[in-house]
């Protein structure tokens, strides 16, 4: 558990970057600090491993005051990932990953083995191990950055906009893998971003900071979307927050309809206006209009690919989007292996939404209401 206790940071030029910040990042959870530029989120992050010293207040790690620890030792016990990865250009990928274990004095063989293992953990080809950072793509570099931070298995990780310098598709992929990894590792993570979507997707708890470094609100993401504490937070979480909140509502409640389908390469027998096309493994490929295809086999060019596909175990947001984007107005749902399980209509999703309870508002404490309960934690 990381605890900020009335932390203030004033720089010598008189600007206040962080103003009386009190916040707890619970053990094993992801706490996201989000806000516009100038809100002091990076400064707050760097005060945890004392790259910046607070002017007033203190930060404790599992109850221990970080101000009393040896700075270099403290840092070796905290994983750190930054934008652009910050890899050492003169070291190979494996040597980069082994940085902290080497500093901790592990023996060479152990460092090498651990580095190889991590390369796999973050989903990189072992062949890349002997390359230099400049020979990797941005996404690959970022994975190496994460591997390097994990190398000595620190309980705490600090991540400063780690995914913001890669393109949106890679970013999405990295975020998903990061969540999968966190599921296994359960690190205590403080994650800084300016992107509210990323904050909501990744955070177990989201702290919104405003310019001047004051805490506007800290809450679980659903709560934040449902009950912004003030206009600033409401503005920051965005206009489509109602829609976005749906990503936290799970879809299993939906009753699915079985959907007639045709395997690509076969001739459609149905004369429905839209027919779903699947491959040999029953993975949906797209929709066709049988009237246009006529009596010949369905070819890849006939496919209408506009519809999104949602996972049946996924969120209501995904299900609703699948229904809204489908040319047949029937949203396609698949299981975790991508196999078709059925379809759902938008109004059915909406009915499910209406039956969903919204997080209740805590009238006593608008700023901390809905934050994670850490009272039972150690420290």
């Amino acid at each position: 558990m990381i605890r900020f206790d009335g932390v203030t940071k004033q720089f010598p030029d008189g600007t206040t970057a962080v103003d009386d910040l009190s916040l707890t990042a619970p053990t094993g959870k992801i706490t996201v600090l989000v806000g516009p530029s100038g809100c002091g989120k990076t400064t707050s992050l760097r005060m945890v491993n004392r790259m910046i010293e607070p002017t007033r207040g203190g930060i404790s790690l599992d109850g221990q005051d970080t101000g009393r620890m040896d700075a270099a030792e403290l840092r070796r016990g905290i994983g750190y990932v930054i934008q652009h990865a910050g890899l050492f250009p003169h070291r190979t990928v494996l040597d980069n990953i082994g940085t902290v274990p080497r500093l901790l004095g592990w023996d060479k063989k152990k460092v090498k083995d651990r580095s190889r293992e991590l390369l796999e953990v973050v989903g990189l080809d072992p062949k890349l191990g002997n390359r230099y950072p400049t020979q990797l793509s941005g996404g690959q570099q970022q994975r190496v950055g994460v591997a390097r931070a994990l190398a000595a298995d620190p309980p705490v990780m600090l991540m400063d906009e780690p995914f913001s310098a890669v393109d949106p598709i890679v970013r999405d992929q990295l975020q998903d893998e990061f969540l999968r990894l966190q599921d296994e590792l359960g690190k205590t993570i403080v994650f800084v971003t300016h992107d509210i979507d990323e904050a909501i997707k990744l955070g177990d708890q989201v702290a919104v900071l405003r310019v001047g470094g004051t805490l506007a609100q800290v809450a679980e993401p659903q709560y934040l979307l449902a009950h912004p504490a003030d206009d600033f937070v409401a503005d920051f979480v965005g206009k489509d927050r109602g829609y976005r909140a749906l990503q936290f509502e799970h879809a299993p409640r939906l009753t699915l309809h079985s959907e007639p389908s045709v395997v690509v390469g076969e001739t459609p027998s149905s004369r429905a206006s839209w027919l779903l096309v699947v491959d040999d493994d029953r993975t949906p490929l797209g929709w066709v209009e049988p009237a246009r295809v006529g009596d010949r086999p369905v070819a890849s060019e006939d496919l209408h690919r506009g519809g999104t596909v949602a996972r049946a175990s996924g969120s209501l947001r995904g299900a609703l989007d699948a229904a809204l984007s489908s040319p047949a107005r029937r949203g396609v749902l698949v299981d975790n292996d991508g196999v078709l399980v059925g379809t759902v209509r938008a109004h059915e999703v909406l009915t499910a939404i209406e039956e969903t309870e919204r997080p209740e508002r805590d009238e006593d404490d608008p700023v901390h209401g809905g934050a994670m309960d850490v009272s039972g934690e150690r420290g």
């Binding site: 270099a72 840092r75 070796r76 050492f88 250009p89 003169h90 230099y132 020979q135 690959q140 600090l158």
Partner: protein
Amino acid sequence: MDWFLANWPRVIDLAGSHLYLSGVPLVVGLVLSVPLGWAAVRWRASYPAIITSSGLLYTIPSLALFIVMPLILGTRILDPFNVLAAMTVYTLALLVRTVADGLSAVPDHVEQAATAMGYGGLRRLFGVQLPLAVPVIASGLRVASVSNVSIVSVASLIGVSQLGDLLIDGYQRVIYGELLTGILACVVLALALDRLIVLGARLLTPWQTAGGGAA
């Protein structure tokens, strides 16, 4: 050519001394300029003082420095050590700034990452900063090597032998073959040192020559 063929053992001998008198100070100067350059970067306030004063050393005329050295060091007038010391001063004058520039050129995000990983003090200097400063330092070293090869020939005037002897003797006795040999031998020596430094830098920076492009 005839002159060289008739005197080549002596030329080789002088070239050896020349290399020794200009090369050793290059190495010693480099080793000394690292802490000075590092200090200039580490304590920003000291930067102007260190850089300016070391740079000014280069303006001392070489003959004067060669003559003054015995007074400073208490050595004998003809001791080659005077030349080694003076050449080290010139190397230092050129390299302190280069080392400081090289160390400051380490990208910010790399420095931050080093801090965050828990790198401090000497391990940071030798593990991260110096390796990354190699290309810049090597370019300064190339300038210093050429400068040393050139300046050290003046030492013939105070009786320390090297290729400069050929220039002075050739000039005084009007032996063009000897003059030409002296000049060419200096050029060859300077080029050889230069290649050696380039090669050394390449070996120390394999990441710079590794085939680029994302996989």
